[in-house]
């Protein structure tokens, strides 16, 4: 062994000389390598800690076992250790080769930086209510959109379910503050307004999500902020770090949370007998014994199904038209930087297969974020991204699947698809899969910025943002079965271009304990949209698919276009004295093209105050580390849809006519809406009072919020008597009040060497109420009149249900009101006149909105293992969170109910099932009632278990960090709601149109149901 190290003296001398030469010529001073291990207070290694040699561009990060190795280059090197959530440390090397610091946990409140719109602020200095998402907690869930990672985890933020591949979830903040105004929060990505699908953003690219909830925080985005603001910041490279390459990926399989199936043969035949119980069963037996003389030919079954009864058919349409759902995500990113330039480059691929056959979705995303300091006074940068989404083929909709029955087959004897399998014009759902389809949505984002600092004016900066967002929508289809099998094809092309230009002047200085920040913004946002659709029907063949539409016998073209513009100015001042007394004041002026001529602009002021009591000398309460009271007051606006103030004259196809045989099309036009020359901004004015605290040596921290806001000049489509020729008009009226209470509590009950347990609980409750509508008291009862036609009631919530009260189902021998039959709802006849009328027999039944919601996040770490579990719940209290739950689908008439199917959770009334809870929907009654149920649920929404490789093991595969994980989504749901998942919500209305404008959650309905999915996934995260 020794022999190996024996060098010839000459050679040794040469090597030494060479090294000295290199050192002298290259670095001017000797290099040394410092190694070490960074630990937390519990003695656990801290991976990912930034280690930088102060004043240089050299730096590194710690490995999974907290170890690092860095060559220092300066004469008196000082190392800076920093990590999010820990207090940074500077340590002079002093010729030591090993430095192993322990980083102290930072007060989460104090130094966390949040994005506040046109800048950032330290959390401790905030005066408003801003919630920051814990993205780490949901990193292991197979989520396609960032929205799914926020679901239930932030108080006051409500995210809807998604149940189709690539579907965009709904989002709302702190309840409903508008009637017909825009209800979506404003989405800002990297400082630029983002229109459209958030699922165009790769969740792996997102660095932070901050949600602005209170009037003063939102005020910087005054005009569109009434529904809250979601600020998304994408990742950037870190200065002076060697390139880091990260791969993360997961694979998930899914199946519906509700294992409902369409009826199969025996149950289906039983249903038909029950529909015909008057003849299929004997009267003497009370319709419980089969009438031997009755056959299925006596039902309304079409001959093909009657033949199917005889043939013993039992075809599983549902089974063959659904598939194993799955999700795959793959992301690769490279980030790093020199001392002047940072970069982050990433690529992502997502492939989702939905539950219904062919419901496939794929997304490719790319991103390059780069910034560089060009000179001392100029920094330029760009956030660019592309998202390319493919919705692939046509999938059959649930309606067409339910519109089949097990007695008929999809193919004829020679194997060809039967176009109308049940013999009516319900089209074979398999045919959708035969369509040729190309549906692609592409988005290109180029946000460029320059920051100018004036050396002689310290603290001053000017930033110019120039945002460009270009979207392409292409939807091309062709179907040989379309247009009654004459063939149909269409090309639908649309583009949208959004442009934002912001001039941001900022001045930040500290004079002693006085800290001041002044921001002024001047900018605009414009959107332009164009669509052209060309379609044709009647093709001799479709071998050229949608690419030769001129071959259609009937050709049709249409086009549309719109544009809108927003212009704004903002002034904002924040001041604090020693981070103890905080003030922030903002005034924003907005103009939007969609309002009437004289009301295009609005001014929205706000002010916020904060007092950090724990900073006061007199504050000496033991175990309270931090305590702040803050309050804010301000006004925000809500804009209206473009062109809402203008009267429209439309030229629709329905207005066209052809005079004479063989004549040409005559174009018809008519006035379709009324103008409102007074249409103006909807304004929400409110207060927010909050308390932030940290106690027990920062082991427990949290915040409590109370808010109360009033929205006036509500944008509202007022219902008109159609006697006037118009059904509604856009107007400003009334007032809505929202009050709410939220808290978020975080604690670390266990924190030992090996084991730690973190819990975060959030809770939100919102109450809204209509304060005023028209301000009229026409019936002179001293109380303002309700606007019943529009479903608005003074003093009651927006989602109030004013409808008939269902009191069970009429049995055979019950005495019934005229026109009602056994198996229909028994509706309470309030005025006892023997008739059910909308005028006299409706009553208040409750409301549709949740009473409160909560989420509980648990994280348990033991050694290399981390277990996370998230529980989410929405509750309706006494009689809120109600929704109608009635069987709805292909069963409006006995014929439809006989020939098409429904799901096995439909527990309908029949003489043999007198306790059935659902009415017979094929029976007409004088007043169609609906029964309302609560949708309360508690859900184990996300669970994950991850294992991080130890450094040693990671190194053997050449990685710095490596983590494998398994996770589950929607594993358990506790609810009394019948049918599909309680969160499956849609704007589906029962036959006869929207009653009170209340959405019907799907429940036991059969059509349009796309089930909520439960999934299991496996994933890997690796960094080199």
């Amino acid at each position: 062994m020794n022999k190996h190290y024996t060098l010839k003296p000459q050679l040794l001398a040469f090597v030494v000389l060479m090294m000295a030469g290199v050192l002298v010529s290259g670095m001017s001073w000797a290099q040394a390598t410092v190694t070490g291990k960074v630990l937390d207070e519990a003695g656990q290694p801290l991976p990912g800690v930034n280690v930088v040699e102060k004043g240089t561009s050299s730096g590194t990060t710690t490995t999974a076992s907290g170890e690092y190795s860095l060559r220092v280059t300066t004469p008196q090197p000082v190392l800076v250790f920093s990590f999010v959530g820990y207090q940074p440390q500077e340590i002079a090397v002093n010729n030591r080769g090993v430095i192993s610091p322990t980083l102290a946990l930072d007060n989460r409140m104090l130094n966390e930086v949040v994005v506040v719109g046109y800048g950032t602020q330290q959390k401790k200095d905030l005066t408003g209510s801003i919630a920051s998402a814990d993205l780490v907690a949901f990193k292991e869930s197979p989520n396609v959109s960032i929205l799914q990672s926020l679901k239930g985890s932030l108080p006051g933020l409500t995210i809807g379910q998604t149940n189709r591949a690539g579907e965009e979830a709904s989002i709302s903040i702190r309840g409903t503050s508008t009637l017909n105004g825009n209800t979506s929060p404003l989405i800002i990505v990297d400082g630029i307004i983002f229109n459209g699908r958030l699922s165009d953003i790769n969740p792996a690219d997102v660095a932070s999500v901050d949600v602005l909830k209170d009037p003063s925080s939102k005020a910087v985005y005054g005009s569109q902020a009434a529904n809250g603001v979601v600020l998304i910041t994408t990742k950037t490279g870190r200065a002076s770090i060697k390139p880091t390459i990260t791969y993360s990926g997961n694979f998930a399989v899914s199946s519906p949370t509700i294992n409902a199936k369409l009826l199969r043969r025996d149950a289906f035949l039983e249903k038909i007998r029950d529909i015909n119980y008057l003849t299929a069963f004997t009267k003497e037996s009370g319709y419980t014994e089969l009438n031997p003389a009755w056959t299925f030919a006596n039902s309304e079954l079409f001959p093909i199904s009657v033949a199917g009864v005889a043939a013993g058919n039992d075809y599983d349409w549902y089974g063959d038209l659904t598939q194993d759902a799955s999700i795959q995500n793959h992301n690769v990113s490279i980030s790093g930087g020199s001392d002047k330039t940072n970069y982050f480059v990433s690529g992502g691929y997502t492939n989702e297969k939905g539950f219904i056959r062919n419901d496939d979705y794929a997304r490719y995303t790319i991103r390059t974020n780069i910034d560089t300091e060009v000179t001392k006074w100029l920094t330029v940068g760009a956030n660019t991204s592309g998202s390319f989404t493919n919705f692939y083929k046509d999938s059959p909709d649930m309606n067409s699947i339910v519109g089949t029955n097990p007695l008929v087959l999809p193919r004829d004897a020679s194997g060809n698809y039967i176009v109308n399998p049940i013999g009516d014009f319900n089209v074979n759902p398999f045919l959708a899969a035969e369509n040729d389809r190309y549906e692609v949505q592409s988005r290109l984002v180029g946000n460029f910025y320059g920051i100018v600092r004036i050396p002689s004016l310290p603290g001053f900066s000017y930033r110019l943002n120039f945002g460009n967002n270009l979207k392409f929508f292409k939807n091309y289809t062709s179907s040989i079965y379309g247009a009654g099998q004459t063939g149909s094809a269409a090309k639908n092309d649309a583009t949208q271009y959004d442009q934002t230009l912001d001039n941001i002047l900022n001045y930040t200085r500290s004079f002693g304990k006085h800290n001041i920040n002044v921001t002024a913004v001047y900018g605009y946002n414009t959107s332009q949209f164009n669509r052209t659709v060309a379609s044709g029907t009647g093709f001799s063949d479709l071998n050229l698919s949608y690419n030769s539409l001129q071959q259609a016998e009937v050709q049709k073209i249409s086009s549309e276009a719109w544009e809108e513009a927003l212009l704004y100015q903002l002034g904002s001042v924040s001041y604090n004295y020693g981070s103890k007394y905080l003030v922030k004041a903002t005034v924003r002026r907005d103009g939007f093209s969609g309002f009437s001529k004289n009301n295009k602009t609005g001014i929205f002021p706000s002010i916020g105050l904060g007092w950090v009591i724990s900073e006061e000398n007199f504050f000496e309460v033991p175990n309270i580390d931090f305590l702040k009271i803050r309050g804010s007051y301000g006004e925000n606006g809500n804009k209206v849809g473009r062109y809402s103030s203008l009267a429209r004259v439309s030229a629709t196809d329905a207005s066209k006519y052809v005079f004479g045989d063989g004549g040409l099309t005559a174009i018809g036009r008519s006035v379709s809406s009324l103008a409102n020359s007074d249409l103006k901004w909807e304004r929400t004015r409110g207060i927010n009072i909050g308390l932030d605290f940290a106690i027990l040596n920062n082991r427990i921290d949290g915040n409590v919020e109370y808010y109360n806001s009033n929205t006036k000049d509500l944008l509202w489509e007022q219902t008109l008597p159609q006697t006037s020729g118009f059904s509604k008009v856009f107007t400003n009226l009334g007032q809505i009040n929202n009050t709410g209470f939220e808290f978020m509590l975080h604690g670390q009950p266990v924190r030992t060497n090996k084991l730690s347990w973190d819990v975060t609980v959030n809770f939100a409750r919102n109450r809204n109420k209509v304060v005023s509508i028209l301000g009229e008291d026409l019936n002179n009862d001293g109380v303002e009149d309700d606007l019943i036609a529009s479903g608005l009631f003074i003093g009651k919530p927006i989602g109030t249900i004013y409808n008939y009260k269902v009191q069970g189902i009429y049995q055979l021998t019950d005495e019934k009101l005229e026109g009602f039959l056994p198996g229909t709802y028994r509706i309470e006849d309030v005025n006892q006149d023997g008739k059910i009328t909308a005028a006299d027999d409706r009553q208040f039944l409750g409301n549709t909105e949740p009473a409160y919601s909560f989420g509980i996040q648990n994280t348990v770490s033991y050694g290399q293992f981390t277990l996370r579990a998230f529980i989410n719940s929405i509750q309706g209290g006494k009689n809120s969170y109600l929704s109608a739950n009635v069987p709805y689908g292909y069963n409006g008439t006995p014929g439809q109910a006989t020939n098409s199917n429904w799901f096995d959770f439909t527990d309908f009334w029949s003489p043999r099932n007198p306790g059935g809870i659902h009415p017979n929907p094929w029976l007409s009654t004088p007043a169609g009632g609906r029964e309302f149920f609560q949708r309360n649920f508690v859900r184990l929404q996300d669970v994950s278990l991850s294992y991080s490789l130890t450094d040693k093991v990671a190194k053997t595969i050449g990685a710095a960090n490596c983590k494998v994980f398994v996770s589950g989504k929607n594993l358990l749901t506790f609810t009394k709601w019948k049918g599909w998942d309680p969160e499956t919500n849609t704007t589906l209305y029962p036959v006869g149109g929207p009653a009170n404008g209340i959405n019907t959650a799907l429940g036991v309905t059969s059509i349009n149901a796309f089930p909520v999915m439960r999934s299991y996934s496996l994933g890997l995260d690796i960094t080199f």
Partner: protein, 568 residues
Amino acid sequence: MKANKFIIALLAGVMLSQAGCKEEEFLNEVPLDFYSPENSFITEGNFNAALTDLYARVRATQSVDPGANQYSEVLGTDIAFNARLDQSRLGNYTVSLTPQGDIPQQHWIRWYKIISNANTIIARVGTSQLTEAQKKLIGAEAKLFRAYAYFKLVHLYGGVPLILNEVSSPQSNFTRATKEQVLQQIVADASDAAANLPAINAVKDGKLSKPVANHVLAETYLSLKDYDKAIAAATEVIENSNLKLMTERFGSLRSQPGDVFYDLFRVGNQNRKSGNMESIWVIQYELDVIGGVLTSSGSSMNNLERGVAPAVFSLVDPGGKAAMLDNASASTLNSGGRGVSFVRPSDYWTYDIWGLDPKKDNRKLDASVTDIRTSPFNIVRDFVYTNPASPNYVGKSLIDFPAPNWIAASWRWYPFPSKITTPGQHPAGVVQDAAKQTLKASAGATFRDMYMIRLPETILLRAEAYLMKGNTAQAAADINLIRNRAKAKPVTPAEVTLDYILDERARELIFEEDRRVTLSRMGKLVERVKKYNPLNAPNIQDFHALFPIPFSEIEANKDAKLEQNPGY
């Protein structure tokens, strides 16, 4: 410091260049793909487009689309009832005619939208720069639409709000006018139209003309019991308008077996250009042209065939095999096209008005009751099995070999008038196999133009006016104009009563006239439903003579009370 100055100058430059644009200009809103009322009622072309919209809207209300009207013009009257015998589709008056129900609401909002659009035209003609002649002509056409809409409304609901001005701001203070006021307004508008509209041979096919106005006047004067004026207006149509009853074979199928009554309802035979001299107002349909509504791929409008023809494709022969060749409907008289049996003619129409006994075999009719309107071309009274895969029954009559599922469910087949369908003339797109004449499930539309007003109706209006004046001889003479053409036995003056006129209307005009409005106008709805409609007789009550005012209208009309009709 040089650099500083440079930067500041640069900054100032950038900001100034942006501030240069005017805020007002920047936020000005210009619609890109729709018009405004201000720029839409200027030229003659603009006004013609506005009138075209009215034609399209009337077509939509007339088009028996099942979603809205639910065939309420005929269902629940004396001539037809819900074939499926259940409560829906006016099977039960208590269920279907409620203030919150669809039927009253659809009729109301559709006719009032037509009134609203007509009012806009009438108001804007006045301030336009059209010539006086153009103003008169366009105004007259719009007024006739308004008159027609009020005529429907006043007979369906009684006195209704009378709105004669353009509504350009939200209004919710409507009150009901009296029936008399509404009728007088119709007279005023229709008189204006009668004075200013061109003759029928001077307008394009499908357009309103002078005889339409006079027909509406005649019928309105009947409601006002002003029989002389009714006779005068009807006479203007019958004798002075270049109209005459067709007595010889004509049109697209004239060389094929049939008769002149059959010809009236074949494809392409309704417009005056086809040689049809008795059509007064024809609702225009055109195949595969935008604005023509009918398409080869199947149409959601004009579904008379689908609604009225029996669902013969659902029959199974006594041997248990499908009754039809390929298990499909066919473009034949035997099949009646692609029906689904919603609307079934009552026995009153099928037998009583022809003097037939439903219990007897009516396949071959007695010569004494023969009338071309009862010929096998015009009323299909038999069904013949056509499935060759069932050799025992193919070619046999359903009546001789009843299908078991027909015995159990009579809706699968019943006699029907052939005017609802277009045998042999279905477009290729809905035909499954041309050689076999089989139809796809997408068939069901009636692929021809539809009569809104045909001369026999005007003649029967005049007969009614004569009768009401006590002049039964003239009344009989008028009715016999129609009966002679039909080669029916003439009626004697002594036989003429209101009921006889209603019978004659049923014989001649089933599925053309708005039967509900006719009965309502005569005050005969309840009486005759009780007499002739077995499904609705038990559930119709006196107050059902009028529709309820839609509750949605009463509720939204917050600034005044819209009185509900009694009984609801």
